[in-house]
Every structure is written in structure tokens, then in C-alpha cells.
Symmetry: C2
Subunit: 159 residues, 2 copies
């Protein structure tokens, strides 16, 4: 999994803190976390395509959440950044064994494939149980000053 | 996840079927599944390093299971091939925010990191519930002729 997932989730948390209607400048966000601005921007564009963020143009433009943070799960963000493909893809090598039934759907019938799919499902379910609002709430409790500092930094406009 | 995982699990299943004490020739195994022999051999060497297979030298040499198939889980094989690192690695970007406590252990205290670890754990638990013996048994029931065909093919020695 790329580093973009961590950046993307933190970015969404920060956007959940900005005042309603205000957009976050991605260069400012990159500066806050000392991240490469172009690469961060690429992750945020992926979140726009997934319907998690909205891109706002103009001098006060940037990105903001497209839905309420309660309805954005960590899984939504991970799949937006990493793509929807499961980690394991069955290549059906049982089907190349001499005399094998090549029409067989091994993804359904092979226990290796099933086991990998069950594990992927368990992973996704765990990520789907946590939302951006949940992460944001936890951070407000654990790191009390961070929310206000972040909002002030991001409100300053383009760096 | 690389294709090597699928090959490695199928290889272990086949080795669970070969008569006790006999080694499987990896070129013969590659031929059975029409896989690149050098790359398959690399996966099998990784399984040797992980204590899952034993390498046997000599003209009838090759690989055999180092332990009983009941005590080899799919997780063992996946970690041997893919490495033991979790898919998500927290880079602690909260620690670079101005005035952040850089001594903070964000892997423990940040809910993003915790959520990713819980998901990884759920994934590993699902893979740890299935063994090579379980997969082999399922294949014997689902594809009744395959075991004998495979054993005959592999017993023929180097291709």
C-alpha cells in the first residue's frame, strides 16, 4: 500500500475541521505535513473522482468534503487511493493442469481463492467500520490543540 | 500481492499429496502449471527460508514439506512469499505538524494507524484459519481426479 493512503485520510480529517463551504488549498496542506505537493494533489484528485471530495476553483479554491464525514469510511478513502482491485487475484492455474476443465470458475470453487477473498472481506469490513468523523473525534480527544492549529494554518490561504 | 502466492499455495498442496520422503522437482511442478521455472523456484526457496519446505539435493532432489500440512496455514505461505511487513506502514505525519510532539508514538495513539492495524489483523486471522491440509482436502472433494493425476505427473522425475 502506498504512502498516499495515510496522507489522504489525514487530509479528509482536516477538511472535516474547516468551516462549512470553505475549501482547503492543497499546497497549504502539503506544507503542513511537509509532503510533495504534486503527489498529494494527485491523491486528492483520486478522492474527487471517488465522490469523497469536491474540487473548488477560483482564488479561494481547493478541496472540501463532498459528503458528511460520518458517511465517509476509511475503506472509501483506501479504495479511492489504491483502486478497487482486491490484493489477491486468482489466475486460475488449476485450469492449466492437463485434462483440467478450463470452463471451471476457480474463483468460486477453489478454496485458496475463497480463503483469500474471505481475508480481503475481513480487511475491508474492518476499514469500513471507521469513519472520517470517528477518526477526527479521536484526534480531538487525543491531541487537543491540533484541530485549532490545523484550521488556522489552512485558513491562511495559498502559501 | 504478487502471483507467487497462488503458485506457492498450490505447490504446498501438491507436496502434501506426494508419498512421504519423496521430493518434488520444481521444474516438473513449473511444467504442470506452465509457470516460469526460475520464478517458481524463487518462491519455493522463500518457503524453505520460512521453514515451510525442505530442500533436498541429489538426482531425486527437489522440495518437500518441512512440517505436516495441518500445521502450515495459508498465512504462513503468504508471509513467506510476500514478507512479514504489514500492508500499511504509518509514517507518523502527525509528528511533522508545527509544534507537534515528535516523541509521540503515533502507531499506538493515532486512530488511523490503529484502524489499519486492526484491518491487517483481521486479514491475517482469516488466512491463519485455513491450512494446507484443509485446502488439499477441499480439492480432493471438489476435483476428485486431480490428486492422482498430479502425483503421477510429479513422480515422473525431472522433465
Amino acid at each position: 500500500m502506498g504512502r498516499g493512503v495515510e496522507w489522504a485520510v489525514h487530509s479528509c480529517v482536516n477538511m472535516s475541521w474547516t468551516p462549512p463551504g470553505e475549501a482547503v488549498n492543497s499546497a497549504r496542506l502539503a506544507e503542513l505535513y511537509k509532503l510533495p505537493a504534486a503527489y498529494l494533489n494527485k491523491q486528492l484528485q483520486a478522492l474527487v473522482r471517488a465522490g469523497i471530495l469536491t474540487s473548488v476553483s477560483g482564488p479561494r479554491g481547493g478541496f472540501r468534503l463532498a459528503r458528511r464525514p460520518e458517511s465517509i469510511t476509511v475503506l472509501d478513502v483506501v479504495l479511492a487511493v489504491e483502486g478497487p482491485e482486491p490484493a489477491f487475484r486468482c489466475e486460475g492455474i488449476l485450469g492449466v493442469v492437463p485434462d483440467a476443465d478450463r470452463e471451471e470458475n476457480f474463483v468460486r470453487t477453489c478454496l485458496i481463492s475463497q480463503t483469500m477473498r474471505q481475508a480481503e472481506l475481513a480487511w475491508r469490513q474492518a476499514l469500513a467500520r471507521q469513519t472520517i468523523a470517528g477518526v477526527a473525534g479521536s484526534m480531538e480527544r487525543r491531541f487537543p490543540g491540533d484541530r485549532d492549529k490545523t484550521v488556522r494554518h489552512l485558513a491562511a490561504g495559498p502559501p
